[in-house]
């Protein structure tokens, strides 16, 4: 069994990070040059880490499957990034951001990590402004803020509806500076297809060049995975189409523990599914819930009427009714389940009855069209392009969709996995969001990890290894990993079955949405656990991948990723089945309070479930890291 030591520093919560930094190892500038670090990914987490590590003097090699680092999925984040600046003087503080985040995560995150995140948030904004991120400003020239779900203060910084794009361009520009300085070597169109472990330490990766199909080996003194989340296991999600789990799944199969895989986030405000050809779902930013009001008709009969003909008195503003303290701004898991509930009651609107209204008419009355356009114009435009409807005139129709994965590879306080030398940052790790993530906190985590935390903690590991003894790429572990990769690709190409990789992906996604989605129960999960291995079996005999391995081959890329999703899905269901409680985004129908709220079980489940691979035909081993709260009390999460 893996030994999981979170390495949380002792002392009072507010002092842990300062103390840890003071006690962390240092490496002299002359020696830093000798260390080689691989960073996979150039989203907010990867780009910032690669830049910051290079600034410190390490030799950094950065890999992305995109054709440019600037295209990472982070680019699509719309709403904003949290920071405890208290520029609004509305009572915010590091403590409050910390507490909101830990409560938002339903007390399933690590206290010390979350406190550190809130602490570092402040520096992120300073640094991004210095990098030239054009955040929204007030007339006086100071930074503007908006509110986001799960908070009663206004602490979200934003750049129109393109915050992720602007932050990513900021981190990318820092990366460009280091590439120009020769301190980072950038490999684009290069997909990591395996992790290489030598004597129990991560020492390199195997990479496929997507343009030429060439497989290559890369060694390093440490490997950092910043490869994003795995929401695309559901096929339809708000993630970019190429987002995938291959990097973290390969690492899992090489010994890294996978923590809380079933903790996924369903975002309440997305454009509803409209047909089977659909390739992705589009998010309408949570910021819309600042000024938009969610409602459905009180009576089923009214569902087919045009919304503007339904009088106020016949509308059910269900979030305001159910959660008066937070209203439309309650956290995502709660807002999503509430939408599902009213639709299950037959009061949903639009095709198939799977939709609720997000209405801006009050905001337009209060603020005027111009102000609403200034705040949300690009989102309204996007909505019109996709649906052909004008949300200034009629309410938007929205429905929950898979959006984010809180689970990920297990890491300690240093952001190192149980495999020494393997670091995991950003959405790819599990560390900060517990069972539910609050809006505007993923961007914060990505940049906190990459710019500020990893660069300070990585030396604790590097100082223990000697770069002169770095295994060469001729080491048998590299040869073996490469051979496995080539065999697997050959198998995919030789199958010549009848179904496309996408068909398998779509079927898997539907299974996961039905049985491991917004609400879960034992019977459904057991059914999924029977169906997934069957589907996987069929995949390996009946998938059709045309073309060759030695050229650009998108069908092969896809099949290789779907093969991993088909394994990961099983682990997610297993985790969901074992967690006999409801918490955050994990809602087990068997465990609810009489009013339908989630019933958490702190006595039995206040732990991180870290799953360890045990071999192809063996059940994974469950390791438990107990969650010990030193300074906050676990309470029932209430937004009423």
């Amino acid at each position: 069994m893996a030994t999981l030591n979170a390495h949380i520093p002792s002392g009072p919560l507010a002092m842990k990070w300062t103390r840890h930094r003071n006690e962390s190892r240092l490496i002299s500038p002359a020696n830093k040059r000798k260390y080689k670090v691989i960073v996979v990914g150039a989203g907010l987490a990867g780009a910032s880490a690669a830049a910051a590590l290079a600034e410190l003097g390490y030799e950094v090699h950065n890999f992305v499957y995109h054709d440019s680092p600037r295209r990472a999925h982070s680019v699509a984040a719309q709403g904003g990034i949290n920071a405890a600046k208290n520029y609004q003087n509305d009572g915010d503080s590091v403590w409050r951001l910390f507490y909101d985040t830990i409560k938002g995560g339903d007390f399933r995150a690590r206290e010390a990590n979350v406190y550190r995140l809130a602490e570092v948030s402040v520096q992120i904004i300073d640094h991004c402004v210095a990098l030239g991120v054009p955040f929204a400003r007030e007339y006086g020239g100071l930074l503007d803020n908006r509110s986001f779900g799960g908070a009663q203060v206004s602490r979200t910084f934003y750049a129109r509806g393109q915050t992720g794009q602007q932050l990513l361009l900021g981190a990318y520009s820092a990366l460009c500076r280091m590439i120009a300085a020769g301190a980072v070597k950038s490999y684009t169109h290069c997909e990591m297809v395996d992790l290489v472990v030598v004597d129990g330490h991560a020492k390199g990766i195997i990479v496929r060049d997507l343009r030429t199909g060439r497989i290559s080996r890369h060694n390093a003194d440490a490997v950092v995975l910043a490869t994003g989340g795995y929401a695309n296991v559901y096929y339809l999600s708000t993630n970019a189409l190429n987002s995938n789990a291959t990097a973290i799944w390969r690492a899992y199969k090489r010994g890294a523990c996978f923590a809380n895989p079933c903790f996924t986030q369903i975002h309440p405000t997305c454009i509803p599914v409209s047909g089977t050809y659909q390739s992705k779902l589009t998010l309408m930013s949570e910021s819309l819930r600042n000024d938009g009001r969610l409602w459905v008709p009180k009576r089923r009969e009214d569902c087919s009427k045009p919304p503007n003909e339904i009088p106020e008195s016949d509308r059910d503003y269900y979030l305001e009714r159910m959660y008066p303290a937070y209203g439309n701004l309650c956290p995502r898991d709660i807002a999503s389940r509430a939408a599902k509930k009213v639709c299950d009651e037959g009061r949903g609107v639009g095709p198939g009855g799977r939709g609720v209204y997000l209405d801006f008419s009050d905001a337009i009355k209060r603020l005027g069209v111009a102000k609403v356009r200034e705040r949300y114009g690009n989102l309204f435009d996007m909505y019109r392009e996709i649906t052909g409807e004008d949300a200034y005139q009629v309410p938007m129709r929205i429905y929950p969709a898979v959006h984010y994965t809180m689970g990920g590879l297990w890491v300690d306080y240093n952001l190192m996995s149980n495999l020494p030398g393997l670091f995991v940052i950003g959405e790819a790790n599990f560390s900060d969001h517990g069972a539910n993530r609050l809006g505007a906190s993923a961007l914060m985590q990505g940049l906190a990890d990459g710019f500020f935390i990893l660069p300070a903690t990585i030396a604790n590991y590097l100082a223990t290894v000697n770069p002169a003894q770095r295994p060469s790429t001729d080491h048998p572990a590299f040869a073996e990993a490469e051979a496995e990769v080539t065999t697997r690709l050959r198998r995919l190409l030789q199958c010549r079955g009848k179904r496309t990789p996408t068909e398998f992906h779509r079927e898997l996604g539907q299974l996961m949405w039905d049985y491991c989605g917004m609400s879960r129960n034992r019977a459904g999960l057991e059914l999924a656990l029977r169906r997934i291995p069957e589907l996987r079996e069929e995949f390996w005999h009946n998938v059709n991948v045309p073309g060759e391995a030695t050229t650009l081959n998108q069908a092969l890329e896809k099949a290789n990723r779907v093969a991993d999703f088909l394994e990961l899905a099983e682990l997610m269901c297993l985790d969901a089945l074992h967690r006999e409680e409801s918490c955050g985004g994990h809602f087990r129908e068997e465990h609810q309070l009489p009013d339908g709220e989630a019933k958490r079980d702190d006595e039995h489940f206040a732990y991180v479930a870290a799953w360890e691979y045990a071999g192809p035909d063996r059940a994974p081993v469950l390791n438990r890291e107990p969650l010990v709260y030193e300074e906050v009390r676990m309470t029932t999460r209430s937004y009423k």
Partner: protein, 257 residues
Amino acid sequence: MKVTLKVWRQKDAQSPGRFVTYVTPELNPNMSFLEMLDVVNEDLIRRGEEPIAFDHDCREGICGTCSLVINGKPHGPHRGVTTCQTYMRSFKDGDTIVIEPFRARAFPVIKDLIVDRSALDRIMWAGGFISVRTGSAPDANTIPVPKDVAERAMDAAQCIGCGACVAACKNASAMLFVAAKISHLGLLPQGQPERYRRARAMIEQMDREGFGACTVTGSCEAVCPKGVSLEFIARMNRDYAVALLKGDPIQRAAAAI
């Protein structure tokens, strides 16, 4: 609805390419253009043929990965949107649609509709940044930035780096892209110290990459999915001229102190 596609197919950079005609299966007008290509590709795969290679990722108009020249227009028939935001309802049943890659000397074809746009990254390496070391920045509100200046910078910063401006230009010039970046940073107070040096370095790199000269025909602005304005080119030219004629005014000012 059904449409006929004339698609550019090219095995790799070395091989010659040609148009191949496909008749689509039955389509739903609410499909996106790329979903239509997905449907065609699924069909091809089922028949054991190689699917049409095309670039895409976010499918919501922000990552800049999708490209395609549709009926002669980069990013298709509509202004202000990318290919991935183009919907089949913009076409009629029975239409013939010609699909080509973004063509430019600096964008060699990798396969079918996928081109190599790494030249744009190399222009960024040349100077598309503000040199600040992580952890050294002052409090974010130390320097107020007038709202309209921040907004103007944001107008330029919205560029998604797709390269449609290059594909639309008869000279295959990358001026709009470069101007967007130079203006974004050059408008903000934080970007001032390196303003002229940046403009010069990026423009010189652009020339080295084999992009053509700008003759202000404006076709770039017309296809830009983010509405990046030609005015930014004028602004960049001024900065560049200053940098060439007078050297770096910021450094000269410093020398005079």
